[in-house]
Symmetry: C2
Subunit: 329 residues, 2 copies
């Protein structure tokens, strides 16, 4: 297989993660980075790689085998992924679960119309965790699955706190509750409320004159984000936030329990867990493995949009099929 030339669109945490992941995958090369900022303001970690303006990408269609779209799910990806799928094979990490069918349809239409291969919602959730839910449901059909997230930083919840009046900066940790995990592992298949599954712990830097009680109350009662959870709020200094909470760890668990036998007398437990020091770097490692699959599927003219459910695992590996079978099966 030739080198897979990868283009990065968007140079934030995810884009930088892709750049590092390419170094760990010797069959991939960084072709370019594209940005909506002024390209001359972007300085890469990789020497001799061009930075293009987003609007100029149409002139670089033959420069990359796959483009990884590293924008946000709220506004960037719904626009950029279908747009770019008209010119490139693309992969994104769209993670607004409720809007996946709609996003899929838009990217699929663009990719099929232009004979490209696309993948959406690649990462660990959606992504590896979705795969584990699917495998679990198929191999243990008389069962139930549970997903827990954390301990880790939720960027969406951190952003929500930053929008509260009087807040300068904040980090929010999502923490799975041990008692709930233990109950799930026991096989009793409990019904768990939102509050019973996760705790939210917030580290907040307030403005000097801010009303701390008011900030805490606003956080704790914020609908969707915090109202349904037990929430702990700590006020700390900007220095402490920087020193102790500037990394982006995350992780979680997908647990499926179920039964087999003539009368369900045999219990089974399947558990997949991740403990990640860097959420964006792990996510982009997953994305680059799937970019390899997209490049191969495009060579096979398997056009249109895919999800992790559609990709045979052998497409992810740089090894040949015979080697995989001999070494890993």
């Amino acid at each position: 297989m030739n080198q897979i030339r990868i283009g990065i669109v968007g140079y934030g945490n995810l884009g930088k993660g892709v750049e590092l992941a390419i170094r760990s995958n010797p069959d991939t090369t960084l072709a370019f980075v594209a940005t909506r900022r002024d390209p001359s303001s972007v300085s890469l970690k990789t020497p001799d790689v061009p930075v293009y303006a987003y609007d100029d990408l149409v002139n670089h269609q033959s420069d990359a085998d796959v483009v990884i779209v590293c924008g946000g799910s709220a506004t960037d990806l719904p626009k950029q992924s279908p747009e770019l799928a008209s010119y490139f094979n693309v992969v994104d990490s769209f993670d607004t679960h409720a809007k996946i069918p709609e996003h899929f349809a838009a990217v699929d239409a663009a990719a099929k119309a232009s004979n490209h291969t696309a993948m959406i919602s690649v990462g660990w959730d959606p992504g590896m965790f979705s795969l584990m839910r699917l495998y679990g449901s198929c191999i243990l059909p008389d069962g139930k699955d549970y997903t827990f997230w954390g301990k880790g930083i939720s960027q969406g919840h951190s952003d929500a706190i930053r929008r509260v009046e009087g807040v300068l900066d904040a980090r929010q940790y999502t923490i799975p509750i041990d008692a709930a995990i233990d109950a799930v592992r026991s096989g009793v298949q409990p019904e768990l409320t939102t509050r019973q599954k996760h705790l939210r712990e917030c580290y907040v830097v307030a403005k000097p004159d801010a009303d701390l009680e008011k900030i805490e109350r606003e956080i704790r009662t914020m609908p969707n984000y915090f109202a349904d959870y037990d929430t702990i709020v700590h006020f700390i200094s900007a220095e402490e936030l920087k020193e102790k909470h500037s990394e982006l760890p995350h992780g979680g668990f997908v647990i499926r329990t179920g039964a087999t036998g003539e009368n369900g007398e045999h219990k089974h437990l399947i558990e997949y867990s991740l403990k990640l020091d860097s959420n964006p770097e792990f996510t982009t490692n997953v994305i680059v493995a799937y970019a390899r699959a997209v490049a191969r599927l495009a060579e096979e003219q398997a056009y249109g949009c895919k999800s992790v459910f559609d990709i045979a695992p052998c497409y992810l590996s740089p090894m040949r099929r015979e080697e995989l079978m001999a070494k890993m099966l």
Copy 2:
């Protein structure tokens, strides 16, 4: 999708497990059981299902969409899987890791020559654990993986003990060593010897006049099976063996640790674990999910032999692709 008609070849622990698994998968039906014994001596748990003689199967080629070959890997499967792949789409659970390429080649040739779809080595190891090793190596390339088995009954090791002179019956538990698992989880990527990873605990029923010391010495020093391990031998009564050790639990762990970042400064841990009350029933549940995939691939005329690496996860599920994407991604 129509009902998938499944034939079972061999009615031991695995065959009986498939029969139960079919009940948990409403889109599958038991078409027949075939045996090398006298068919009239076999009584099924499912009413109104025919039992055929193995040698008569050639006359029932149109009765099943997929046949699950439930023999042993030592002598049954190397003969039966290629033989049956000439008449049926087949799935087996061949688990002699070193001989997989050879077995694959034989089944592949038979399946391709007769336009059938086949799958070998389906279960949890080889099977789900193989998948986890493959996914782990692709999404965390700068890393290392470890597989631990147990606590569970190893039938091969139990059989080996039964062949020792003076032994009436025996069960052997493979037990992963906690200190080794903890070292792996810590991310230090230790080099572990066979002895450091697993312990072997044996429950042995001896003949009344047997030399127990001699039996224990023979077990502990048996090459390949026990010599490289710390082995504990307990002599117990036939009654105690039956009462406390007649189930077939098993399980294990696939753990991959690795690093990302500019200087490998971010550590990551991926862990997949199984805790199974019944090894054969869980194995056959996995097999029936893959039988669904084989039936679909045969409809698509994707002939030849496959492994779990070749199967896109969506083929395992009775749900439609759109439903999967909306509910599980």
